[in-house]
């Protein structure tokens, strides 16, 4: 293991529960009433307790969160340290980041870069999103007119970008629904097998994710109408869910982990990103991953487990098809082995850290070596991170 690389020493998250924005008129989500800072503090405390490190080593909390307004405003990363129950001292600083869906993945890459410069410092990365308290789009969506005018597609809704991919890559409704159903099945099984037990920190007596529909079927999914386009195929069933939740990882340098005898869950090998046309933003993972792989000196074949954010089934499938065109074959058995955003939900700010964290859990549990976490980003971007399991014991015989 290369001691200069940053490592992930622990990962936790809250349960991910279905959000209920008031405008929907639905029953309140299970974590809907929880203030976003109240969601993060127990996670931070859990990381400190589980790792046993002295809080004085923590330099900064980096928080990914989208629509930083209302209860998500005023630099909620910093708010953590001002919370009466948080075990971090006031000397820890806080910065909140927004890179839309990749926010907490981005926060991890920032921690990675900071750690390289400051190997004695510990970074706590959180991601949080209450889509119940601040609805998708925020309270006052406003945009640059010039940006809209230079290309109306710049503001295409996410669903419509996915419909674009459906057309370009000829993805059938059945394929999408089948993918969606499999995400639910994988998650249900993973829940049953306790694959999330070590990472979930209960909040207010809630300890289970509640987005999964174990009994979902292709027929059932097939009954829904397209949600974004007349006669379209992107539906609520084959899209990510609107969710409340928070996640957190602790990032240190390899040297620090070694000196303090901290078990390392994953080494951050490389990061990659890309910018592309907003109207096909769903393809973001492709070039972002390619870049990350290149920088890690690996190929897709080297990757043992992949977390691709399931913004839309069609969008994941489109990426697979694009890679195929590039001569890169994706083994679907390696993809989202415990289910993805279609089943688990996509609380924007929290997703990135959850994906990387859970990927490291998967690698460790299954004794695998290399992992790739990647997502597409509204506005036409993609982000990817390649990690290595340092506890990999070699191929089993």
């Amino acid at each position: 293991m290369n001691d200069t690389k940053a490592v992930i020493v622990d990962y936790v998250r809250t349960p991910f529960t279905k959000a209920a924005p008031p405008s929907w008129g639905k029953a309140p989500g299970k974590l809907a009433a929880v203030n976003p800072v109240d969601m993060q503090v127990p996670l931070i405390n859990a990381l400190l307790e589980r790792t046993g490190i002295d809080p004085k080593h923590v330099r900064k909390v980096l928080t990914g969160c989208v629509h930083q307004e209302g209860s998500q405003g005023a630099n909620i990363a910093r708010m953590n340290m001002l919370h009466g129950k948080c075990n971090l001292p006031h000397s820890v600083t806080g910065t909140t980041l927004d890179m839309f869906c990749a926010s907490s993945m981005e926060a991890i890459t920032f921690a990675d870069a900071l750690s390289a410069r400051n190997p004695e410092d510990v970074y706590i990365v959180t991601g949080v999103q209450s889509m119940s308290q601040v609805e998708m789009g925020g309270f006052n969506p406003m945009f640059s007119e010039d940006v809209l005018n230079s290309n109306p597609a710049n503001f295409l809704s996410m669903g419509n970008t996915a419909e674009n991919l459906v057309d370009i890559y000829d993805i059938t409704r059945k394929e999408q629904d089948a993918f969606a159903v499999s995400s639910h099945k994988k998650m249900a099984e993973a829940q049953g097998r306790g694959h999330f037990d070590s990472e979930i920190v209960p909040i207010n007596g809630i300890s289970q994710d509640d987005g999964v529909r174990a009994d979902s079927t292709v027929e059932g999914a097939g009954r829904l109408k397209g949600a974004f386009k007349n006669g379209g195929s992107i539906t609520a069933a084959n899209s990510s869910q609107v969710t409340d939740g928070a996640s957190a990882v602790m990032v240190t340098s390899g040297a620090f982990a070694k000196e303090n005898n901290l078990p390392v869950k994953a080494v951050i090998l490389s990061t990659g990103e890309t910018g592309l046309a907003p109207m096909v933003m769903g393809l973001g993972p492709v070039e972002a991953s390619n870049e990350a792989l290149r920088k890690a000196n690996l190929t897709m074949d080297d990757i043992d487990a992949i977390e691709v954010n399931e913004a839309f089934a069609a969008q994941v499938l489109a990426c697979v098809k694009e890679w195929d065109k590039q001569g890169v074959r994706i083994d679907m058995d390696k993809v989202n082995v415990d289910g993805g955003a279609i089943a688990i939900g996509h609380p924007f700010g929290a997703t990135g850290a959850r994906m990387i964290g859970h990927l490291s859990e998967t690698l460790n549990r299954e004794n695998k070596r290399y992992g790739l976490a990647t997502l597409c980003i509204g506005g036409g971007q993609g982000k990817a991170v390649v990690i290595e399991n340092p506890n990999y014991r070699g191929p089993s015989l």
Binding site: P22, A32, I206
Partner: protein
């Protein structure tokens, strides 16, 4: 003349600009032209900027009305009057200038435009001399009073060639659209108001000089003691402008025969000198008039020990100023002191030696000349009330003095009794009731109704003709015809106490049980104030009875206090329950605040209006929730209603918008209040799409009744709203705002002090929906998804869930929070002090900042939060036990209020 769409005003001085603004207030398109460039613009800008309390400049009811006014000059923009329906000339008081203007108008106005002059001195026949016939036919005088927006009087004078139809149309326009008290006057110098008013000033001045009475004494005597405005004579002169006084006086002198009593005493030299010295009062550069602010040799204002500027008063003989004295007659109630006006005038008190000759001669002047200036006696009283804000007109005053006594005293002074007075002597008084109708004796000795046939309704007329349907000490209900009932406040300041609630409760039941006989309710009264809210004097009285040296010494203070809190708690619930029952009653309820003369619908008096299906308001209605000023929060559903409106207006902007708006409007009432009906509409106290304004306050009752009747078909009561409120994090945001304002240490009269911090926090609890929902509260406080909320509560360690905007809350929730909040504050010393101060000084207590300033969160922690048992109002009038309790509290209140009356406390 509701088809008057456009009004042109020529002359942008004080009167012209005021008339233009009032026409704009009424919804007309307006053109305002002046001879000189920029004058009209400046006038509009001045009126737009003026503070609401600056009555001489606040011409626009809301500044956006200014958009209706187009400005210009006579030279460049006269064609703009081409499509005006009414053209008002308000140029300099000189015949030649006016006639020049008329010629210009005649050239450009459309054929059927009505042309009027606002002259106060020139006779109409002189004005139109030499004008063509068609001009004379459509010409008349419309004499407005300054400030046009607020002074109700509009004297109208018909020329001998004026087309009666045109005259009538203009009269209707003035009455209905501009909302004025239109009084027809004869074409005599200074018409009615100024003729009498200026005579009195002249007479008072003569007497003051003869008796060596300082002007401070004159102002103290000719004051509310006689129903005159607080300003008195000389302060009024300063306000109106001494140049105006001089001008009117001059014109009276010129226009009246030498034998007129005015000319007998007319002595303009002093005032002329004042004008020459540029001491014209408020408007002058120096601000000097009869009174002035003292300045030292360097021109700096001299202040007293309290930092207030020292005032000086002029000597009517020498013209010198000396420091103003506080008159020993200040606020003296002569009638009460001596038992009657007659006894006062008959006494040899110093005040009477001045007051008698002045009042005698002023009344005689009226009696001798009423027929010269007006078409009936009623018009004279109407003019003095509406134009000079006299509470009682001259004929009413004569009745108060005693007509027979007055005539005898006049005779004893060796003066001839005017024939009009002799006629009144025969009847004994001017005003009487005949055939259950209020009437006044007019010039020929016959009686005429005091209510002219104008299509309006007067509650006082109805009260003469009928018995109330329900009545108790502070409120009654009346049948006002066509199945409509009127609920009337009539307690002190029309405040609300358990007797009022008892009447309302009974009234609601009566209407519902009437089998269609009664089909609507109007909430209206003709008192000075619509209502000053819940009777805090009552509360304060119980408080002081409960907690004083004796009860404390006996160790009974807590016992009595708990009884008081119990009473208070029940009183609050009753108000909530009955207002809610009124709102949800199966028939239309229309609130009808006149907005005159003292304009207040505050606190509980505002809350009742918020619970009406619609409000028909006079234009100058001031309304708002001012409980914070006495250390309380609105708790008769006021927070709930305002939150509902804020949600409707702002809801889509996120959970804080409505909450912040409601909190600020209630915590800072001086900004949040509506200072006119149109202003109230901006601030959500009145609803733009539902509530309406009757420009003429005298029309409010008939308009409200008609509105009620228009809503009876297929009437459905309003639905209870659902509240989406931010909970704790919202409260944190409000606390942060309040702390910031407090820490600034602003002048406690304008900013937030240590007491306000606590009040704001109790209010924030309500406007954010409270912090948590417990299992017990789910049933009545959560509007939907109850099962899910119960699940969340069971799952949590604390057995409660936080409130956030996704948990829909019921009205019962808000009402419970209101009760908890007000009771929390009622237990505090600071609230007791604020209540006591208001009761005593009739203004809110503004505590000085603590030194050193306190920590705001410590202040909040001092509050012991009261959490009352859950209790929901049903939306139906009180019944059974609750009603019995109300009736017993009404009985207690009656006793208490009677005691207070006897002790002179009420």
């Amino acid at each position: 003349m509701s088809d008057v769409k456009k009004v042109a005003v020529i002359g942008a001085g004080a009167m012209g600009s005021g008339i233009a603004a009032q026409a704009a207030n009424a919804g007309c398109e307006v053109v305002l032209l002046d001879k000189f460039e920029g004058v009209a613009d400046k006038a509009v800008a001045r009126m737009k900027k003026a503070k609401p309390t600056d009555v001489f400049n606040a011409g626009f009811m809301v500044s956006s009305n200014a958009k209706r006014v187009t400005t210009g000059t006579i030279d460049n923009d006269i064609e703009k009057i081409a499509d005006a329906d009414v053209i008002v000339e308000a140029v300099f008081e000189r015949l030649d200038i006016k006639q020049e203007t008329f010629n210009l108008i005649h050239k450009h106005a459309k054929k059927d435009a009505v042309i009027t002059s606002n002259t106060s001195t020139i006779q109409i026949e002189k004005l139109v001399e030499g004008m063509p016939e068609d001009f004379k036919k459509r010409f008349m005088n419309t004499h407005f009073f300054n400030p046009v927006r607020f002074m109700a009087l509009l004297e109208v004078i018909q020329g001998k060639d004026t087309d009666p139809a045109v005259f009538e149309q203009m009269r209707e326009f003035g009455d209905k659209v501009l909302g004025k008290k239109v009084v027809k006057a004869k074409d005599s110098p200074a018409f009615i108001g100024n003729r009498i008013g200026v005579y009195m000033i002249e007479r008072a001045t003569k007497e003051a000089k003869d008796l060596n009475f300082p002007i401070e004494d004159v102002d103290a005597i000719l004051s509310p003691a006689f129903g005159f405005p607080k300003l008195g004579v000389y302060k009024l002169g300063d306000t109106v402008g001494i140049d105006i006084l001089q001008h009117v006086g001059q014109n009276l002198h010129d226009g009246l025969p030498t034998s007129d009593e005015f000319n007998e005493i007319y002595d303009p030299a002093f005032i002329e000198q004042m004008v020459e010295d540029k001491r014209t009062g408020r408007k002058s550069e120096s601000g000097e008039g009869f009174y002035r602010v003292k300045k030292d040799d360097d021109g700096n204002v001299v202040t007293d020990a309290k930092g207030k500027p020292v005032k000086q008063a002029i000597d009517l003989k020498t013209g010198e100023y000396s420091d103003a004295i506080k008159s020993k007659f200040f606020k003296m109630n002569f009638k009460k002191k001596h038992g009657s006006y007659a006894k006062f005038f008959d006494s040899n008190s110093r005040a009477a030696t001045f007051a008698w000759p002045v009042m005698r001669d002023t009344m005689l002047y009226v009696l001798n000349h009423a027929e010269d200036i007006a078409f009936d006696t009623l018009a004279v009283d109407e003019a003095m009330r509406a134009g000079f804000n006299w509470k009682k007109g001259p004929f009413q005053l004569l009745d108060e003095f005693g007509v027979e006594w007055f005539a005898d005293k006049v005779r004893a002074d060796g003066i001839d009794v005017p024939s009009l007075l002799e006629k009144a002597e025969k009847r004994g008084k001017f005003y009487t009731v005949e055939d259950n109708t209020a009437k006044i004796m007019t010039f020929d000795g016959s009686l005429m109704p005091t209510h002219r046939e104008d299509g309006t309704l007067r509650l006082s007329d109805i009260k003469l003709k009928s018995k109330p349907l329900v009545s108790d000490m502070s409120a009654s209900s009346w049948d006002i015809g066509d199945g409509v009932v009127c609920f009337e406040f009539h307690g002190i300041n029309n405040m609300v106490d358990p007797t009022s609630l008892n009447v309302l409760n009974k009234t609601l039941k009566m209407i519902e049980d009437s089998n269609g006989k009664y089909k609507a309710l109007v909430v209206y009264n003709e008192g000075d104030k619509f209502s000053a809210g819940a009777n805090i004097g009552l509360v304060h009285m119980f408080n002081t009875l409960a907690d004083n040296k004796l009860t404390r010494a006996l160790g009974l203070s807590n016992f009595f206090k708990s009884k008081v809190y119990d009473f208070l708690g029940e009183f609050i619930f009753q108000g909530q329950a009955i207002y809610k029952a009124m709102r949800e009653a199966p028939f239309p309820v229309i609130g009808a605040p006149k907005g005159q003369p003292e304009n207040m619908a505050l606190g509980g008096g505002c809350e009742i209006l918020l619970h009406c299906d619609a409000v028909q308001s006079g234009p100058e209605q001031v309304m708002g929730l001012v409980e914070a000023g006495v250390g309380l929060i609105p708790a008769w559903g006021g927070c709930a209603r305002y939150l509902e409106r804020a949600q409707d207006a702002e809801g889509h902007k996120g959970p804080m918008a409505a909450t912040m708006k409601a909190t600020m409007a209630i915590a800072a009432p001086m900004e949040g209040m509506g200072f006119s009906a149109q202003d109230a509409m901006k601030k959500l106290w009145l609803r733009k799409d539902v509530d309406q304004v009757s420009m003429n306050p005298d029309h409010v009752l008939i308009d409200a009744k008609n509105r009620a009747l228009s809503m009876t078909d297929n009437y459905t009561p309003p639905v209870e709203p659902v509240y989406h409120l931010p909970g704790k994090s919202g409260k944190a945001a409000i606390r942060m705002n309040v702390d910031t304002m407090y820490m600034r240490g602003d002048d406690p009269n304008k900013g937030v002090n240590h007491v306000d911090v606590k009040i704001a926090d109790c209010l924030a609890d309500v406007t954010t929906g409270g912090e948590t929902v417990s299992q017990e509260q789910v049933e009545s406080h959560v509007a939907d998804h109850k099962d899910r909320v119960r699940e969340l509560i069971s799952a949590s360690n604390d057995q409660e869930t936080d409130v956030y905007q996704g948990i829909p809350l019921t009205e019962a929730r808000i009402l419970q929070l209101e009760r908890n909040g007000i009771m929390t504050l009622a237990h505090t010393d600071t609230t007791s002090k604020r209540l006591a101060y208001m009761v005593e000084k009739k203004k809110p207590l503004r505590e000085k900042h603590l030194d050193p300033m306190a920590n705001p969160s410590e202040l909040r922690n001092e509050l012991e939060r009261v959490s009352l048992p859950l209790r929901s109002a049903t939306g139906k009038p009180l019944d059974g036990e609750a009603e019995e309790r109300l009736q017993s509290m009404a009985k207690t209140s009656r006793t208490a209020l009677n005691i207070a009356k006897k002790l002179g406390l009420a």
